[in-house]
């Protein structure tokens, strides 16, 4: 892969290849300039959440006091520990974790066979199935929530985790099938044939050969579904009336209502709610970018 160009430097990455024509000064400067731009970019994306953090450390009335002040008039550091020791908050957190994890698991278990099969086989109804998947993506839970409520009410599932889990799973299925279908289609048939010759059955091939090769796709589906389920609001608001079993999004909204306004607690709770997602993301991010199929068939 490395080629010695007439200009001199070895070319290793795509970025260097593009940059190689730039003047020498730039190459030295980019060591400092790029991290600085990076810092600016990070600040832009974090700035609203810095406001959130500072608002969490104010007294609640300070949040809506005119004129605005950049820093709290009175620092109020105990908000985070107040929220973390609030049993209601811990219950909501538990619900969110259960719901998001279970929805993600269901999506994986259901979408992998569907995506694999549609990618590898022609069968009557294949087109109709792909069409169906595309269309489910277009319905928003907001427009269907009345029907969903009625259905789960008839099935006696209102106020259960299962109702929210199933709904989240169904609405995120389309994306997972979409993405995984693409990954499965891109894996050359030869790999599977080789596995078959080596005595691997259809399921064995899927589990031992195809899934590891599709890891970036699986990770994408996991991140996507988990975040969507973690932040789902409308369906949970409608289906979960038991305060102890509400997920975070719905639960923490009760910190600020027409009757009581605890902006500080609302924001502290929201910031805490972001943490699990960022941790999940940081742990599996490397798989998003890993080059797994490169070189598997020469």
């Amino acid at each position: 892969m490395s080629v010695v160009s007439p200009a001199g430097p070895r070319i290793r990455t795509s970025t260097e290849a593009v940059l190689v024509r730039r003047p020498k000064g730039w190459r030295r400067a980019r060591t400092f300039v790029l991290p600085l731009i990076g810092l600016a970019v990070a600040l832009v994306f974090l700035s609203p959440f810095l406001v959130m953090l500072i608002d969490a450390l104010r007294t609640s009335s300070d949040v809506t006091t005119t004129p605005a002040s950049y820093l709290p008039r009175q620092w109020h550091f105990s908000t985070f520990s107040e929220v973390l020791s609030d049993t209601r908050f811990l219950n909501w957190l538990k619900t969110s974790l259960i719901v998001a994890a279970a929805s993600t698991l269901i999506v994986l278990v259901v979408s992998v066979p569907a995506a694999y099969f549609t990618a590898r086989f022609r069968f009557p109804g294949r087109t109709a199935f792909l069409l169906l998947v595309l269309i489910t993506q277009m319905f928003s839970p907001t427009s269907l929530v009345v029907g969903i409520y009625r259905e789960f009410f008839d099935a006696n599932l209102v106020n259960t985790y299962l109702a929210i889990i199933l709904t989240n799973a169904a609405f995120n299925l389309a994306f997972a099938i979409w993405i995984l279908h693409g990954f499965f289609s891109s894996i050359p048939q030869e790999i599977e044939e080789a596995a078959n010759l080596d005595g691997c059955g259809r399921f064995g091939t899927l589990a031992r050969i195809m899934l590891p090769l599709t890891l970036p796709g699986l990770v994408t589906a996991v991140v996507f579904t988990f975040i969507a389920a973690w932040n789902e609001y409308v369906v949970a608001l409608t289906l979960m009336q038991d305060d102890n079993k509400k997920p975070l999004t719905v639960g923490i909204s009760s910190y600020v209502t027409g009757y009581q306004q605890h902006w500080d607690q609302l924001f502290a709770a929201s910031l805490i709610a972001i943490v699990p997602v960022v941790i999940l993301f940081a742990t599996i991010e490397k798989h998003l970018v890993g080059g797994l199929t490169a070189g598997s068939v020469k």
Partner: protein
């Protein structure tokens, strides 16, 4: 019709986004089709079709069964309920009084706010999707470079995606506030404005303010799709371009962008759907304003049922059906346009 849609999806939409559909799709380089495989997705798909095995419908049912059950139970059944509601007559308290035929649909079509709502929806979707894609392209290009602290920047960008939209929307109502908003405070102290701007009350500013938040929360996902697409482009393509004497800008325009097409398709189709259906931002930021001056189709639908003087579940259901139809048409037209461009290019 059905065939065309599924074909557009299968061929260009996504999936076959072989060389880099989702974040992290690095499978492109390994393809026998070579680096330009993504661009030639349509042709390749046809070839693969011949390789693909055939299976009887009952085997298919075994593999697709769980997915079908879930979709039927949680999406199709309520969707049928929605259709049923759209042809029913409801009292203001939501009691079904009988059939309404097509009356709900004509009531939506004759609604005085319909033009405003459609115009708002068009502005909202086009502005948010276009800006999101432009900014995300640049951002992904930047994040694909190697520099000190890149990992931290990547994590930071996840935060707007990881945060609950409902809460982010409420946060922005505070940031934008006329009296105690930090944004006005900042702009005033920098002397960029001489008196506070009513970002959410002034008709000239409301849509701009909403679009800004919409773009802000849509960028993380989109940038990641592009980042994955960039990672899937093999380095030797760049080398070849460089050896041919291409300037950096030419390389980007003629090598990177065409190879990013699969990622671009995924990012734009998904963004179109999400932005169309985006409820919390428009609803929350627009909460103060009476009527439908800044509503998009989805908040219009919600208000018809729960918030307005109409309080008409049937009419809202009809609006919901129109909404899905609108998204379907827009996505199809988009896929058509892209396919047409693709054949132009070849």
């Amino acid at each position: 019709m059905a065939d065309q849609i599924a074909d557009s999806v299968a061929a260009s939409g996504s999936p076959d986004a072989a060389s880099g559909s989702g974040p992290g799709s690095t499978s492109g380089p390994a393809l026998p089709g070579g680096p330009a495989a993504g661009v030639r997705a349509v042709g390749r798909r046809r070839n693969r079709g011949r390789e693909r095995g055939r299976a009887p419908w009952w085997v298919a049912l075994l593999w697709l069964g769980p997915a079908l059950l879930l979709i039927a139970g949680v999406v199709i059944y309520p969707a049928i309920e929605l259709v049923r509601a759209s042809v029913s007559h409801y009292s203001i308290t939501g009691l079904r009084l009988g059939s309404a035929g097509g009356r709900n649909y004509s009531k939506v079509l004759e609604h005085p706010a319909l033009n405003t709502v459609l115009k708002n929806t068009a502005v909202w979707v086009v502005a948010v999707v276009a800006l999101t894609i432009l900014i995300s392209l640049a951002l992904a290009q930047f994040l694909s470079k190697d520099f000190f602290g890149r990992k931290v920047v990547r994590w930071a960008i996840i935060v707007p995606w990881a945060a609950s939209l409902v809460i982010t929307a409420r946060l922005f109502t505070l940031i934008y506030d006329y009296n105690y908003g930090i944004l006005n405070h900042l702009l005033l102290s920098l002397h960029l404005i001489s008196k506070p701007v009513d970002f959410l009350g002034d008709d000239r500013w409301t849509m701009i303010s909403m679009v800004a938040v919409g773009v802000f929360v849509s960028i993380p996902f989109t940038a990641y799709v592009f980042l994955a697409g960039l990672n899937a482009i093999p380095t030797d393509v760049y080398e070849a371009a460089r050896i041919d004497g291409a300037r950096p800008w030419q390389v980007y325009w003629q090598v990177t962008l065409p190879l990013l097409r699969p990622a671009m398709l995924v990012a734009s189709v998904l963004n179109i759907i999400y932005v169309f259906n985006s409820f919390p931002i428009v609803y929350t930021l627009n909460d103060r304003n009476p009527g439908y001056t800044h509503d998009t189709s989805i908040t219009f639908m919600y208000k018809l049922a729960f918030k307005s003087a109409d309080k008409d579940v049937g009419m809202s259901a009809a609006a919901g059906i129109f909404n899905v139809a609108l998204i379907l048409v827009v996505v199809l037209v988009y896929l058509r346009l892209v396919k047409w461009q693709e054949s132009e290019n070849r």
